[in-house]
């Protein structure tokens, strides 16, 4: 689909004017009903200093961002098959992003209004070495808004390891677009492990052409208010999308996993598995919308959300929404919210395993289940923060 040509500057200016009009979402906004962002709304954030950029690494395929500002593109070394430019220098991809941004999306508008530039990364073959996107945050009252657009050309394959870490009472609002051409495959593993005082509102947009496969695996373990939103458009037949997520909440933290999957073409499949653990007074919401258009016959859409509650004060909300206009589809959704199983706990303890350790084993099993089928290094890389969280928090 050809887009109007929209430069990055124009994109940012349009977003700025929308943000000026609309601001942050309120509690009456349906998409934010369970996610209280008053703390963010009340804070005036200053955009990060663009002079402080990520440092270059001796590793190939390693992009470092400091408060959302990437290191100069010339300083990054890439494997064959990876082409990286400033987004302001790639009108095709800035135009694609302009067309992909959902209308009236507060976070996208905020991020684009404040972003100084973005990255446009084109993959034109099978790239074996994972591409690492490492986001480091620091400083109070600073907002970070990385914008990255990926285009995987037909048949291209890539693994991305994306990590958000660091401290300071700041806000990260990364916006990413992934355009998968015919037969392209993207493995997208993410660890959100920012420190406890941070806010994170991320948006991932995925557009899939025929026979492409997107596999998203996320571990959300850090931040005070952390929301990850993923919107997938299955635009052509036989595309597959997998969204797996693990979230971990404690104290008064907020966890929000939001997804929207548009089945716009026949014979596509989408699978979502979300497992969360909530302790203390933490709250979480999983809201997943699956929309199947009239001509998207033979759609297979599955969604399963399970939450383990470790404290009587924790709160889990699930909001599945299925909107189906085709008549020959298989769509399912399920949601469970419960405590640790007392039979399982007793079984472990009856073998001499202490109560704390038994609880840790059961929680780990519940969470690791989501990412267990992955190959290393992704599997290990995603399990590490889960184990760390359990060891430091569950007792």
């Amino acid at each position: 689909m050809p887009h109007d040509v929209v430069s990055f500057e124009r994109l940012a200016a349009d977003a700025a004017s929308r943000y000026a009009d609309n601001g942050w979402p309120g509690s009456k906004d349906e998409a934010w009903r369970f996610t209280n962002i008053n703390a963010i709304r009340k804070t005036t954030f200053l955009p990060a200093d663009t002079a402080i950029t990520g440092s270059s690494s001796s590793e190939n395929n390693f992009i470092h961002f400091i408060n959302g500002i990437h290191q100069p593109v010339d300083n990054i070394s890439f494997n064959d098959g990876v082409l990286c430019q400033k987004l302001s220098e790639n009108a095709a991809l800035s135009s694609a992003l302009a067309a992909a941004i959902p209308q009236g999306h507060h976070v996208a508008d905020f991020a684009l209004a404040h972003a100084s530039d973005g990255l446009a990364i084109t993959i034109d073959q099978v790239v074996d070495n994972p591409l690492q996107l490492i986001f480091d945050y620091s400083g109070d009252g600073i907002s970070s808004h990385a914008v990255v657009v990926f285009k995987l050309l037909p048949g291209a394959e890539l693994t991305i390891l994306e990590e958000h870490k660091g401290g300071g009472a700041g806000l990260s609002a990364p916006v990413m677009l992934f355009c998968l051409e015919e037969g392209a495959k993207l493995h997208h593993a993410r660890r959100l492990i920012e420190s406890d005082q941070r806010y994170h509102l991320g948006l991932n947009l995925v557009q899939q052409k025929s026979k492409s496969v997107y596999s998203g695996d996320m571990v959300m373990a850090g931040g005070d208010i952390t929301r990850s939103e993923t919107q997938v458009s299955l635009m052509e037949a036989d595309a597959q999308s997998y969204l797996n997520a693990v979230y971990l909440g404690r104290d008064a933290q907020m966890r929000d996993v939001t997804s929207r999957i548009d089945h716009d073409a026949p014979d596509c499949q989408s699978f979502q598995r979300i497992h969360g653990v909530l302790d203390n007074q933490s709250k979480a919401v999983f809201q997943g919308k699956v929309k199947v258009k009239r001509y998207a016959q033979k759609t297979d859409g599955n969604q399963m959300s399970r939450t383990l509650i470790l404290s009587r004060d924790a709160e889990a909300n699930t909001k599945p929404e299925l909107e189906i206009y085709a008549d020959d589809v298989t769509c399912s959704h399920g949601a469970t919210i419960g405590e640790l199983d007392s039979d399982q706990l007793f079984y472990l303890m009856s073998r001499g395993i202490g109560c704390d350790e038994a609880r840790q084993m059961l929680i780990e099993a519940f969470l690791v289940d989501v990412v267990d089928a992955l190959d290393d290094p992704k599997r290990e890389w995603l399990i590490e923060p889960i184990e760390h969280w359990i060891k430091t928090r569950v007792s």
Binding site: D343, F346, S350, G352, M361, L362, A365
Partner: protein, 250 residues
Amino acid sequence: MPLLEIENLHASIGDKPILKDINLTINPSEIHAIMGPNGSGKSTLSYVLAGRDGYEVTNGDIRLDGVSVMEMEADERARAGLFLAFQYPVELPGVGGMSFLRGAVNARRIEAGLDEIDHIAFVKTVREAANKLGIKDDMLKRAVNVGFSGGEKKRYEILQMALLEPKMAILDETDSGLDVDALRIVSEGVNALKTDDIGVLVITHYQRLLDYIIPDHVHILADGKIVKSGDKTLALEVEKSGYGEFTNAA
């Protein structure tokens, strides 16, 4: 010294008394069987001995090796040498079999002041013990009890017992759901563990397990009380005439 002493044991679930004055002494190397009809309190007794939450002991004492276990949690009792083979072994999806077995054995070893077991040596030990019980390697790699048949679950219980080397083993309805072949293998497994000093308490509804694991003493449990004790011939008597006379007596 007696291995297990149950003295004036009364236990309730909520307000409902289930066990009403149980007295039983098991010495080292003795096998005792408790037989009883459904609802007599057999499973409650095994859970109360193992220290499961949800049962209130209203009176009495349980001593292992002369030490009261009443204040001990289930895991402490296990580390002190008590083992319960479950009637319905619990599936633990995502908990790998080998790490589960190693965790259990190490918990016992650390309590005994020993080092954690060597990883490679342990795998070998487990394989050998499993082999004797007809447990395939593939089963050891799976999550605990997940996808196991009823018979496989029972064998896996006996494997755990073999590895944990308890002082006192309680077998709760280990024969239920077993065909004759599995019954024989499981019983051989139990008999192989019968060292000089282990005590065994077999809890069962039917006599047939006692053809394979020969008890020294048989007790009939009815309505939360031991109403009759005897030698192995008592089990045969029950097999012939049923529990009618005992339930009426109780």
